[in-house]
């Protein structure tokens, strides 16, 4: 009996963690989104019983996010920013992870520490540092004008989508590199050697062996950074401040920040979570399929 429960028991902390820090908060958000508002203090009054849920707020949000709604554009803009930032992160992060995993040799540990090093500083502090660096008379403009890349200083902080996207890339890149590195580092060298022995070129080996085998790492890293990017609101706040570059997270922040409709903030969160669940579902399905194929082979 004791032995029967010993090993599954190791999963207990994880299960408790999941319940306390994910399921309970998520159900609370759901109960708020489908709840009511205190007419005096404007506080959300969650409805815990699903049979009594009030779908009015959620319907309103779905309409506002749908075609012709006043939140459609900000939702599409968020999708666009995250997609571009994700693509750029992969373009930058994959070669870095590949180099560290396969070519760095003795410097592997040092390079990994360097990748992680920015995370030792608070995200907001790093973004605020960029505000100074990107100022009209900041070091970035000074360098770019000195090297004649730019003829005159660029107003990076003037509400530009490019600045927001680059800031997202900068902020989340290390979280992509780490799972990618782990995935690439785990690839069995014998697979690559077999490919080369069978006549494949380096590029062909990369394309047909390394890349497919690192797909779980790519997806894992992509999910890891895309999820927080979708909910990000402080990055556009800090490096842009323009409504034209705001993201859906700014709307959630706005409605939770006071006023008589905190339920709308919760309802947007629920809709966003539903969308992200689809992405997460695709990731889990891919992992499941990869595992099954690996077992079959």
């Amino acid at each position: 009996m004791y032995r029967r429960w010993l090993w599954p028991g190791f999963a207990l902390p994880g299960i408790v963690w999941l319940i306390v820090l994910f399921l309970v908060p998520f159900y609370t958000v759901l109960a708020v989104a489908l709840g009511t508002v205190d007419p005096i203090l404007f506080q959300a009054v969650p409805i815990w019983n699903p049979l009594e849920w009030n779908v009015g707020w959620l319907n309103e949000v779905i309409q506002r996010l749908g075609p012709g709604g006043n939140l459609t554009d900000v939702a599409l803009r968020t999708l666009q920013y995250v997609a571009i930032a994700l693509g750029l992160s992969l373009l930058i992060g994959y070669p870095v992870a590949y180099y560290i995993a396969r070519l760095a040799g003795r410097t592997k540990a040092l390079l990994l520490i360097l990748v992680i090093a920015p995370l030792w500083i608070n995200y907001l502090m790093r973004m605020l540092a960029w505000v100074n660096l990107l100022a009209t008379d900041g070091y970035v403009n000074r360098f770019l004008t000195f090297t004649h890349v730019l003829s005159e200083p660029r107003d990076w902080l003037g509400g530009r989508p490019s600045t927001v996207i680059l800031a997202l890339v900068y902020g989340y890149l290390p979280f992509l590199i780490l799972p990618l590195f782990a995935s690439l580092d785990r690839i069995d060298q014998s697979h690559l050697e077999a490919s080369r022995d069978l006549g494949a070129s380096r590029f062909s080996t990369f394309l047909h062996v390394t890349l497919p085998l690192s797909k779980p790492g790519i997806l894992g890293g992509a999910v890891l950074i895309a999820l927080p990017m979708f909910g990000d609101y402080y990055t556009p706040n800090i490096v842009s401040e323009a409504p034209t570059t705001s993201m859906i997270g700014n709307q959630i922040d706005f409605y939770f920040h006071g006023g008589p409709q905190p339920t709308i903030g919760a309802a947007i969160t629920v809709v966003l979570s539903a969308f992200l669940t689809l992405i997460m579902g695709y990731y889990l399905w891919t992992i499941h399929r990869a595992t099954r194929e690996a077992r079959a082979s």
Binding site: P39, I40, L41, F42, Q43, N70, L71, D73, V74, R77, A135, T136, D155, L157, G158, G159, R160, S240, E241, A242, P243, T244, T245, S246, N250, Q251, F254, Y255, H257, G258, G259, P260, Q261
Partner: protein, 439 residues
């Protein structure tokens, strides 16, 4: 031994308070009836104020705010009901432990707070909130237990109806009647000063760097139009990050002086006008104009009058002359004015000391030092003489319009005030539409 006011006889809980208010309101029409449930007296103005005239000029049913409280306007005075008795007079202030001030970040001089703590033998803790709405939410949720907090007139009804702040015994606050501008001793939103004492005052206008902005904004027929003509200042133009101020500005620009309107057509039009600014100047939103304007990170900004005084005192970089800062505000009756207040929180464990704090805050010397040595926002204190501020060089002459006087307040002034829940939602959704940024 002092009693915590919550332990006193005769107090009402929130349910009783609302029930009695509602019963009285149903028995007698209007504000007078509502107040009769809870308060010992009503003023003639209150008794007369049983209807309000909306932006369309039509007589509307009286609008009620949180908890069914009548909505105060500069020309409609309201005495708020007492949900419990104030503390008795003549009690000794509590000593020892911590005294918590709940306020906007960096909005009270730490040195003065420490002096207060030293005088009364307490450690003063300063707990900041992001904005007054979220501060009230945190107080209501029990996440914080401050002794005193910053309050604004447009949130006062909510705090009173929610029984989040306590009635004040003015015997402990003699500086209110002695030192404060007459208009704010017993202000229209809190007749009798049952729950608040004023802290600072300001007007909303336009701040700009005249070395970058070529237009003479003050000479324009409608100075607010400058934001709609700011193509040359794209990326350097910003509006306040406040839904009332932003939409209200667009209303004033089109000549609608009712900045507390709940007319959806007016709000929709104001939001549509604001959205034009995306294309014109890629407008930004934020509340750091006191820093971004003097530093040249912004050229043109909707701003509060105190911002440019703070900019001059603290944020102007060395080598940048004060003459580059400009501020415009409209004439009385067309300019939004506002005053911040302080209230005693229901969570206080030191109610007597909290009263002493309010009195300390309104001391001539303390309020002056807090103003000129720290936050730049003017307290409504009689002794602070606007010409003297300019003569002494505390405020440069060309920024004299940043200084307010008692005459800026009164029944014909404009002040953002509490809305009904539906009206508040209307403004909030309008602002949400604006900050969503369009396509």
């Amino acid at each position: 031994m002092t009693h915590h006011p919550k332990e006193r006889n005769g107090g009402l809980n929130r349910r009783d308070f609302l029930l009695r208010s509602a019963m009285a309101a149903s028995a007698v029409t209007g504000a007078g009836g509502l107040l009769a449930a809870c308060s010992s007296s009503t003023t003639p103005e209150q008794e007369a104020a049983t209807t309000v005239v909306g932006s369309t000029g039509e007589v509307e049913a009286e609008l009620l705010g949180p908890g069914g409280l009548p909505l105060a306007r500069p020309d409609k005075r309201v005495e708020l009901p007492l949900w419990e008795d104030p503390i008795e007079s003549g009690l000794e202030p509590e000593t020892g432990g911590t005294f918590t001030v709940f306020n906007y970040p960096d909005y009270f001089y730490k040195k003065l707070l420490n002096e207060f703590g030293k005088e009364y033998g307490v450690k003063v803790q300063y707990t900041p909130f992001d904005n007054i709405s979220s501060g009230i939410q945190r107080l209501a949720s029990g996440a914080v237990e401050p002794d005193v907090m910053e309050m604004t007139p447009d949130n006062l009804d909510l705090a009173v109806a929610g029984q989040l702040i306590k009635p004040i015994n003015l015997d402990y606050v003699p500086n209110l009647a002695k030192n404060v501008w007459p208009e704010l001793v017993s202000p229209f939103y809190d007749v009798g000063s049952h729950y608040t004492v004023p802290y600072t005052c300001y007007a909303t206008g336009i701040a700009w760097r005249n070395d970058h902005v070529s237009e003479d904004i003050a000479a324009m027929a409608q100075p607010w139009d400058i934001f709609w003509e700011a193509e040359a200042y794209a990326g350097k133009t910003a509006l306040l990050s406040e839904e009332r101020e932003t939409i209200g500005m667009a209303l004033l620009r089109k000549g609608h002086p009712d900045i507390n309107t709940e007319d959806p057509a007016l709000i929709d039009q104001a939001v549509a006008d604001l959205k034009e600014l995306y294309e014109i100047c890629n407008v930004k939103i934020g509340d750091l104009q006191y820093q971004t304007i003097p530093e040249g990170r912004a050229y043109l900004n909707q701003a509060w009058s105190g911002d440019m005084i703070a900019a001059y005192i603290y944020y102007l970089p060395k080598g940048t002359p004060a003459s580059v800062l400009s501020f415009w505000k409209a004439e009385k009756g067309q300019v939004p004015v506002q005053n911040d207040c302080f209230s005693i929180c229901k969570t206080t464990k030191k109610p007597v000391l909290a009263h002493h704090f309010l009195n300390f805050m309104l001391d001539n010397g303390v309020s002056y030092e807090n103003f000129v040595d720290f936050n730049g926002y003017q307290p409504p204190i009689n002794e602070i003489d606007p010409p003297a501020l300019i003569e002494e060089g505390i405020v440069p002459e060309h920024l004299a319009n940043c200084v307010l006087t008692n005459d800026d307040f009164g029944p014909d002034s404009l002040q953002y005030m509490t809305l009904t829940q539906a009206g508040h939602a209307l403004w909030q959704n309008g602002y949400s539409d604006f900050i969503a940024g369009g396509s």
